[in-house]
């Protein structure tokens, strides 16, 4: 199985290298769908320039990346293209290994249940054969590496790719059952973009399941393990934040990164839902509505945790989708990460109604984004409503696809 993976990686790297050399690279990196104010490479370069001048990179209102990223690129700026290609490959390999491991677990469980004769007779079609499962990890890697969204995000050098790598490693560590590494990567992911904090719940559920600890509020071992994991997570978070403090010797980055994510001051159009509402809204209502919008990301975690207690990996997937839909500065790179998981639940496709229409809707929306952008910004003949209409359609497509998937798995 390693050979096809290597082949896929080679194809993906060649494609990216070719695109870096082409004239498309400049065009793609300017696209608002690919580069958000948070992850645009231009802003990273600006931050680096300020850092080199001995000024705090956060002193301008341009740079919103975390201190660790800027120090990473402080040393690797010459090899930026290489770094982004490597992070993409690492993400794909991590996802590959994680799904391979997960499939083994699923298969074992399925075998046990068959032996115990617990399945109803008419679900025979849903039982997965080893042949099917054999190819799923490869498909996941393929979906991630060759997804046009990922390719564009890599070519635009959007730092979203790095967030994706951290999250992929977090998933790998969780599925391998290493509570320590899982907590560390979760802390890193949270530190990077804040929203992955909601992945705490699925990770905890998965680890508990793996340790065969019953999820009951009365059981002592449940609370003990939860405390342990939370402590590990918080400690690593504190360590990382303190490290950032010592790197820059100031707390500037807290308002500049997390304040920026939460209060959404930059209303550049993107594929998310925030910009249009807040551009239209009166200033004195905006605090309330920022809270309402932000709650969306965190709000669904608890009901989902109750409902999907038995399927923590699926929960993780749904949570990733929710983050990428409702976060304040979404890009197509975020969408690409959760899309990579689609093959894992391919056996559910037959229950997914309208999946074909919804996929077509997403494809057509992706094509219409640049067209309407051109009409609005360059030709001046359309206006922001046209672009926002497509953004809404795109997100409705995503939401209804994911709710269908959630229904079918319940």
């Amino acid at each position: 199985m390693a050979a096809p993976l290597v082949l896929v990686v080679l194809v993906a790297v060649t494609l990216r290298a070719a695109l870096y050399r082409s004239s498309l690279a400049a065009f793609i990196s300017e696209r608002v769908e690919v580069a958000s104010p948070l992850s645009a490479w231009k802003r990273v370069v600006e931050g680096l320039a300020l850092l080199d001048l001995g000024v705090s990179p956060y002193s301008g209102a341009i740079f919103h990346e975390t201190p660790l990223i800027i120090y990473l690129f402080h040393f690797l700026i010459e090899y930026a293209e290489l770094v982004f290609m490597i992070t993409d490959v690492l993400t794909a390999v991590a996802l590959y290994l994680a799904i391979q491991d997960y499939n083994k677990v699923v298969f074992k469980k399925q075998k046990l249940l068959i032996e115990l004769d617990k399945y109803a007779p008419d679900v025979a079609e849903l039982i997965r054969t080893p042949m099917e499962m054999h190819y799923i990890p490869l498909k996941v890697a393929l979906f991630y590496l060759l997804n046009p969204y990922t390719v564009m995000s890599c070519v635009a050098k959007s730092t979203c790719a790095i967030n994706n790598t951290v999250i992929a490693f977090f998933i790998l560590a969780t599925i391998k059952g290493s509570a320590f590494l899982s907590a560390v990567f979760l802390a890193l992911a949270t530190y990077q973009s804040l929203y992955p904090v909601t992945l705490f719940a699925p990770a905890l559920l998965y680890l508990l399941q793996r340790q065969f600890i019953p999820i009951k509020p009365k059981s002592k071992s449940f609370w003990l393990y939860t405390m342990q994991y939370a402590a590990l997570y918080l400690c690593s978070l504190v360590v990382i934040i303190c490290l950032s403090f010592f790197l820059l010797n100031s707390w500037d980055f807290i308002p500049s990164v997390y304040g920026f994510i939460l209060s959404v001051p930059d209303l550049t159009p993107n594929i998310g839902l925030f910009w249009y509402f807040f551009a239209e809204m009166f200033e004195h209502f905006s605090l309330f509505f920022v809270c309402v919008f932000q709650i969306n990301v965190f709000f669904y975690t608890i009901p989902l945790a109750v409902k999907l207690k038995e399927h923590p990996v699926f929960f993780m997937f749904v949570q990733l989708a929710i983050i990428s839909i409702f976060k304040s500065y979404p890009t197509v790179g975020d969408v690409a990460l959760y899309m990579a998981f689609l093959p894992v639940w391919s056996h559910l496709y037959r229950f997914l109604r309208n999946i074909f229409i919804l996929s077509c809707v997403l494809i057509v929306c992706s094509l219409l984004f640049p067209v309407l952008w051109h009409l609005w910004i360059y030709a001046g003949s359309a206006n922001s409503n046209f672009y926002y209409a497509i953004t809404l359609t795109f997100n409705i497509g995503q939401v209804s696809r994911e709710t269908r998937r959630t229904f079918t798995s319940c």
Binding site: E125, R353, F356, C360, V364, L372, L375, G380, S381, A382
Partner: protein, 639 residues
């Protein structure tokens, strides 16, 4: 989605769509065309009105007195031009200085990718001359442009004369709040492109020019004037710009309003509007005007010098003075007054023109069809593809059949429905046989896709790159070589190996072509929708011709008829028919030989427009529509 989620509704709907697919498709197509034809009727085309307050409510009194002076300038200019054998730069500079303008000149040069035979030019060198009238009441932050092309021969010298006379008169007025640029551009669109690029300090084509020296703030609006006689009988206005972009409707309204005020006859597409609206001839007349506009907009070619302004977000129109054998003639003073009025109203603008429509079609100058009204016509045509897609949908998905009866998109597939029936009959053996039948994965579609797109790429690149080789080996000129290579590649694409799909196992089955057709239809629907947003006419014309063939194509049945239908729907034939229709509508029908010559000219023109000004129809057709059409051709040739 509620309708589609409820299994009963879903089943009923799917049955309806399957049973009545062909009638529904035909109905939808007819509805689309019918809607389009109905757009020339008054209820769908309301009267135009001025939306911009700054131009609507204020009155201006025109006092332009210098009609005779304009003619004197025109005669001088014609004499000087004859003497200089081109644009008389020195004379223009001197005259403009004399009028009190800031004068600049801008030399430019451009080598065409191949010789332009219809205009006889290859290595072009020219000079633009322009004078800026500084506004006494503002700080040069905004400006208006009056541009006049200096074309070959004695053409257009009256326009230069009128422009100079207007400049002389405007100079004496105190109410200007925007700078006015008086521009004489050489080599029509080439000079205009050079000037616009230099003015905005960009270089989007390979134009070489010295940067302009003087600027006058952001240009708010522009009027290009063409006038070749001492008196005019009517004015024609051209609105279609590069890639079918249109100026704000208020600018057209402004022109119309002033023509009416001064009693001038004005036409659009060379058609005078009729006073009656409810008779059949009147309907036919406005339909002709509408069709002409659709054809011109669909060609993506600028219909006047104003066409290039639109790309820079500047509203612009071209105004042409026509001198025909009508009784009432208007002298330069009236014409000057009309232009003066327009400029004074534009001078009153507080912000860019943005109130009125940008997406419209004009069945006459006083009526318009807005985007909300014309989009349904296109929507009905696309609905045909969607209905067909829903019939084929779900084809590519693998997996056992059993529960598919629930899924609309699966059930609609005929062979799957058959296998599902067998499952319901309890015939397990048959079901297994179906399940093990080799399935064309998406991999089987890769070779046809690649081959078709390679053909498209060749069509896009080879004609210009290969002109040297072609002229060395064949006794043709370069321009002919380009056009003939284009046609040769286009036709050769149809003969490409159409059995590429058979290289992979399972590619040759029935499901194979259905999958390919599904893909081609999706591709067509997506690209036509994008095209219709950018240039409605292009999208509509392509949809009207390609949709029936695309919906009907299949490798079984009357293949000859289908092949003929498909060939008739190819973009090249659409272009040819478009040329005949255009000449027919202009009431000077072209014979077969003339039509063919015009077709060759149009091909060369399309290529040149793309290379010189960045027009998009050629790359769109070569890189997207042609490959998509080849995919359909592939479906037809499927074995």
């Amino acid at each position: 989605m509620g309708l589609l989620s409820d299994p009963h509704c879903r089943r009923a709907l799917s049955r309806l769509v399957v049973r009545l697919n062909t009638p529904l498709c035909v109905l939808s197509y007819v509805a689309g065309l019918g809607w389009f034809l109905a757009m020339a009727l008054p209820p769908l085309a309301p009267r135009t009105y001025m939306s911009e307050n700054a131009m609507g409510s204020t009155m201006v009194e025109e006092q332009f007195p210098h009609g005779e002076r304009a003619l004197a300038y025109a005669r001088d200019f014609a004499a000087q031009k004859k003497k200089a054998g081109g644009i008389p730069v020195a004379w223009l500079e001197k005259t403009m200085w004399g009028l009190g303008l800031e004068v600049y000149k801008q030399p430019f040069a451009r080598t065409l990718p191949f010789p332009d035979e219809s205009r006889e030019r290859y290595m072009v060198k020219g000079t633009n001359v322009y004078g800026i009238l500084r506004a006494p009441r503002a700080a040069s932050t905004e400006s208006l442009v009056l541009s006049v092309p200096c074309s070959e021969g004695t053409q257009n010298s009256q326009a230069v004369g009128l422009m100079l006379a207007l400049a002389a008169y405007f100079r004496g007025q105190i109410y200007w709040a925007k700078d006015i640029i008086f521009l004489v551009n050489e080599h029509d669109l080439l000079g205009m492109e050079a000037w616009l690029e230099a003015y905005h300090d960009v270089n989007v084509t390979e134009m070489q020019s010295s940067g302009t020296l003087g600027r006058a703030g952001a240009i708010q609006a522009a009027v290009a004037l063409e006038l070749s006689s001492d008196v005019v009988t009517s004015f024609d206005v051209a609105v279609e710009g590069l890639n079918g972009q249109l100026p704000n409707l208020d600018l057209v309204n402004l022109f119309h309003a002033f023509c009416q005020k001064n009693g001038l006859l004005c036409t659009i597409q060379g058609k005078l509007q009729r006073s009656d609206w409810d008779t059949l001839p009147a309907y036919a007349h406005s339909l002709q005007t509408l069709l002409l506009m659709v054809l011109k907009q669909g060609s993506g070619r600028p219909q006047g010098d104003h066409g290039l302004f639109l790309r820079y977000h500047i509203e612009a129109i071209t105004v042409r003075g026509i001198n025909s054998f009508r009784q009432y003639k208007y002298d330069m003073t009236t014409v000057g007054k009309t232009l003066e009025g327009m400029f004074r109203k534009l001078n009153n603008l507080l912000e860019r023109l943005h109130q009125s429509y940008f997406f419209y079609l004009l069945p006459s100058l006083s009526r318009f069809v807005s985007i909300g009204v014309y989009m349904p016509a296109f929507g009905f045509l696309i609905l045909v593809l969607v209905l067909k897609i829903s019939l084929l949908g779900g084809g590519p998905r693998p997996g056992p059949r059993g529960l598919h009866a629930l899924d609309l998109w699966m059930q609609l597939n005929k062979c799957e429905a058959a296998s599902a029936e067998r499952l319901w009959d309890g015939d397990q053996g048959a079901a297994h046989a179906v399940a093990e039948e080799p399935r064309p994965g998406l991999l089987a579609l890769v070779p046809p896709l690649l081959v078709c797109h390679a053909a498209g790429l060749a069509l896009y690149l080879l004609p210009v790159l290969g002109q040297r080789v072609a002229t060395q080996h064949f006794p043709v000129s370069e321009a002919e070589a380009v056009v003939l290579t284009l046609i040769a590649i286009y036709v050769a694409g149809m003969a490409l190996p159409h059995s590429a799909h058979r290289a992979l196992p399972g590619g040759g089955s029935d499901r194979g072509w259905m999958t390919l057709k599904l893909l081609a239809l999706l591709y067509l629907a997506a690209q036509l929708s994008c095209a219709a947003l950018l240039n409605f006419s292009l999208g509509f014309l392509l949809a009207a011709t390609m949709v029936p063939a695309a919906a009907a194509v299949r490798p079984t049945g009357p293949r000859l008829v289908l092949a003929a239908l498909l060939v008739l729907s190819t973009p090249a034939v659409t272009l040819l028919l478009g040329i005949f229709l255009h000449r027919e509508l202009e009431e000077r029908p072209a014979g077969l030989a003339e039509g063919w010559q015009l077709f060759l000219q149009a091909l060369a023109e399309g290529l040149l427009q793309h290379h010189l000004y960045g027009a998009l129809p050629f790359p769109f057709l070569a890189l997207l529509t042609y490959p998509c059409w080849l995919l359909l051709w592939n479906v037809l040739c499927w074995k």
